[in-house]
C-alpha cells in the first residue's frame, strides 16, 4: 500500500513540477561522448599554437563554437551574433569606426580582426583586458553596447534549444543539459576562434618559398622599408618594431602618437593604462595584426583613419609627442610619395581571402 502511494506521489510531482520534468528531460547520457582532437593548422612561418590545458580543441567543440559564433541566440533580442561585428568578408571586422550594439548604442572602439587570433598570447581587445580567448568571449554578451544580454538568459536559451544540448554533450561530455554553462559556451567559441587559421596571401607564398621574386618591384620596395632591410638604399619605415613575425604583430601595446597626450595627465581613452593602472601605459593600445589590413579599415583603435594610404601619411607627417610615445617613432618616418605607395603595396600582399571559400569560416546557418 505504502509503495503504491509513493509511486503515485512521484508521478504527481513529476507531472506538476516543471523543474522535475526538466531534470528527466535533460538527461543526455544516451548520446555518445567520443571526443576527437581538432588539428589546428600550422602555416609556414607561424609558431605552433599553444592551447589551454583545460580547453584543448576537439572536432565537436569547434563545431559547437562555430554555431554559437554565428548564432544571434546570444543577444538579448536575438538580432546579433559574434559575427555581426566580425564579418568574414571584412577579415572578421565590421567596416565601421566603432561597432553598434543591439540597442543602437555605439561602442567606443573598432572591431578587431579574428583570422589567426589564436596566435595572440598577450592580452585581447585593444587594451589587453582579457588574458585569453575564453575570457574575451565572455564579455560581449553582457555588454550593454553589444549584445546586452545576461549569461543566465543565454544558458536558459541554450538548455531549451532543440540541438545545442546534444552538441554540448558531444563537445564536453556533460550528462544533463542543466550543465550547459557560460564557461562551456565560451570555451567552445574560443575553440572555434583558434581554428580560424588562414595564411594564403602573397606574403605567405614568399614566407613558404623564400622566393622574393613573387613580389612586384613596388611590393619588394615596400617590404624593404617595412622591415628596414639594410642595403636596399630605402628609408626605414619603422613598421617592424610593432608589426612583425608571421602574425604581423609583436603582440604588445604602444602609444603610436595618434594624439598629443603631452605628460599623460589628460588622456581621453586610457587604453592599456586602464587595465594595468600604470601611469605610463595611458594611451597605449595593442599593435594589431596587419594581416588582411586591406580589408579591415577604418583603422586605429577608434577607427579614425579611413584608408591605408592615410595611415601611412599619418606616420609620415603627423605623429604627436607624448611622454610615452614609442621611442622607435621619435625620429619620425620620412618617405616620399612613391615610397609611401610601395609601403601600401607591400601591406596589400598580406591580403588573404582564400578562407572565404571555406565553409568553416562562414555561417553554418546559410
Amino acid at each position: 500500500m505504502m509503495k503504491r502511494v509513493l509511486i503515485g506521489l512521484g508521478i504527481f510531482i513529476a507531472a506538476c513540477s516543471p523543474d522535475e520534468v526538466a531534470v528527466i528531460d535533460g538527461d543526455l547520457t544516451n548520446i555518445p561522448y567520443q571526443p576527437v582532437d581538432y588539428v589546428i593548422p600550422q602555416p609556414a612561418g607561424f609558431p605552433s599554437m599553444a592551447q589551454p590545458s583545460d580547453n584543448i580543441a576537439t572536432e565537436a567543440g569547434v563545431e559547437l563554437g562555430h554555431f554559437l559564433f554565428f548564432d544571434p541566440i546570444l543577444s538579448r533580442d536575438s538580432t546579433q551574433s559574434c559575427s555581426s561585428c566580425h564579418l568574414p568578408e571584412l577579415g572578421f571586422t565590421d567596416g565601421k569606426k566603432v561597432s553598434t550594439g543591439i540597442t543602437g548604442a555605439q561602442g567606443f572602439r573598432s572591431s578587431m580582426s579574428l583570422v589567426n587570433i589564436g596566435f595572440v598570447n598577450n592580452g585581447l581587445f585593444w587594451d589587453g583586458r582579457s588574458p585569453h580567448l575564453e575570457a574575451q568571449a565572455f564579455l560581449p554578451i553582457e555588454d550593454p553596447t553589444e549584445m546586452d544580454n545576461t549569461w543566465a538568459a543565454v544558458e536558459e536559451s541554450l538548455r531549451n534549444h532543440p540541438t545545442y544540448p546534444e552538441m554540448f554533450r558531444k563537445a564536453f561530455g556533460i550528462n544533463d543539459k542543466s550543465e550547459i554553462t557560460s564557461d562551456l559556451a565560451t570555451k567552445a567559441i574560443a575553440q572555434y576562434e583558434r581554428s580560424l587559421v588562414s595564411a594564403n596571401s602573397k606574403y605567405d607564398e614568399v614566407l613558404a618559398s623564400g622566393d622574393f621574386g613573387v613580389f612586384s618591384d613596388e611590393e619588394l620596395d615596400g617590404y624593404f622599408m617595412f622591415f628596414d632591410i639594410e642595403g636596399s638604399g630605402l628609408p626605414d619605415a619603422q613598421c617592424f618594431h610593432c608589426h612583425s613575425g608571421a602574425y604581423m604583430s609583436v603582440n604588445d601595446f604602444f602609444n603610436n602618437g595618434l594624439d598629443a597626450l603631452g605628460d599623460l595627465t589628460n588622456v581621453t581613452d586610457i587604453g592599456l593604462g586602464d587595465v594595468t593602472g600604470v601611469f605610463t601605459d595611458r594611451g597605449k593600445f595593442r599593435a594589431t595584426t596587419l594581416r588582411n589590413i586591406e580589408l579591415t579599415g577604418p583603422y586605429m583603435h577608434d577607427g579614425r583613419i579611413e584608408t591605408l594610404e592615410e595611415v601611412v601619411d599619418f606616420y609620415n607627417d603627423s605623429i604627436h609627442p607624448a611622454l610615452n610615445l614609442d621611442v622607435n617613432l621619435f625620429e619620425g618616418v620620412d618617405l616620399n610619395a612613391s615610397q609611401r605607395e610601395s609601403l601600401v603595396a607591400f601591406m596589400k600582399t598580406l591580403t588573404d581571402t582564400s578562407y572565404l571559400s571555406n565553409p568553416h569560416f562562414l555561417s553554418p546557418f546559410n
Binding site: A44, G45, F46, P47, S48, M49, A50, G118, F119, N121, F227, D228, I229, E230, D236, F240, H241, S244, G245, A246, Y247, S249, V250, N251, D252, G262, D263, V278, F279, T280, P321, A322, L323, N324, L325, V327, N328, F330, E331
Partner: protein
Amino acid sequence: MHKIAVISMLSLIIGFTACSPDESVQTGEAQLSFKLEFGGNPLVVDAPYDYQSNSVRFSEFNFIYSNLKFLRADGSSVDLEEVGYLDFGDTNTEGAAVNGLNKSYVDLPIGSYTGISFTYGLDESYLDKTPADFSTDNVLSNAGLYWVAWGNYIICKLEARFESNGDGLYDDASFQYHLGGDAAFRTVTIDKEFDLITDGTTSIDLVLDLRKILLIDNELIDPFEFNNTHTSDMEWLISDLLDNVQTEFVAE
C-alpha cells in the same frame, strides 16, 4: 610458508626503496632575484635619472638568457634553466625595482657552490632558430624578439628617452639599443660562495647597474650621437654593450 613469502617480498621492496637514487640525493631550493640599478640606485622604469647634462627615463629593458647553472668548486655544475627571459617593464615602482624579478628553482642538490653562470643571450645552437620553431607559450615564439632583417633573435632591448629642453616630454632624444647578431651572446660567470640546504631557500641577488653598461671608454654613450643599433655599422656598439654586461653582473 605464506607468511615467509610476504615478509620476503616486503624486505625486497624496502631494499629497493633504500637504494633508490632519488632518495639518496637531498635537495634544496634557491631564488635568484635579478635587480637593475642606475648609478647605484634601484632603477625604476619610466622614472627620471641624471644622465650627463640631461635627464633620462628608461622605458624598456629586457633580455634573453640561457644555460643558467650553479657552479661547484670541483668544476661540476647543476643546470637550472635552459632558456629564460626577463622583462623589467613592470618594475615601474620603487618597491618593484627593489624586489627585482624573482626566479625560483627547486629540487637542487644541497651542498656548497662557488658561482653562477649563464649565457647572456642565446648560444650558437640557436642561430638557425626562428619563432616558427617554437610554440606560442614559449618566449622564443615572440616576433618582437626576432630581427627579420638580420635573421637573429634580439637578445636584449634597452630603450630610453631623454629630456634636455625642460618641457617635460622627454622627447629630445632617445635610444633603442636592440642587441642581436650572430655574435650577440656572452658567457657570464659570477663568483659567489653559497650553500644549498634542505630546510629553507637560498636567496641570491644578481644586480646589474645600467650606468656601467652604458659607459664606453669611461664616458656615457651620447644618445644624440648614437640613437640605435639597427645597422651593421653599429655592431661595435652591440659588442661593447655586451662586453660590459659580461663583467658587470654582481651577486649579493
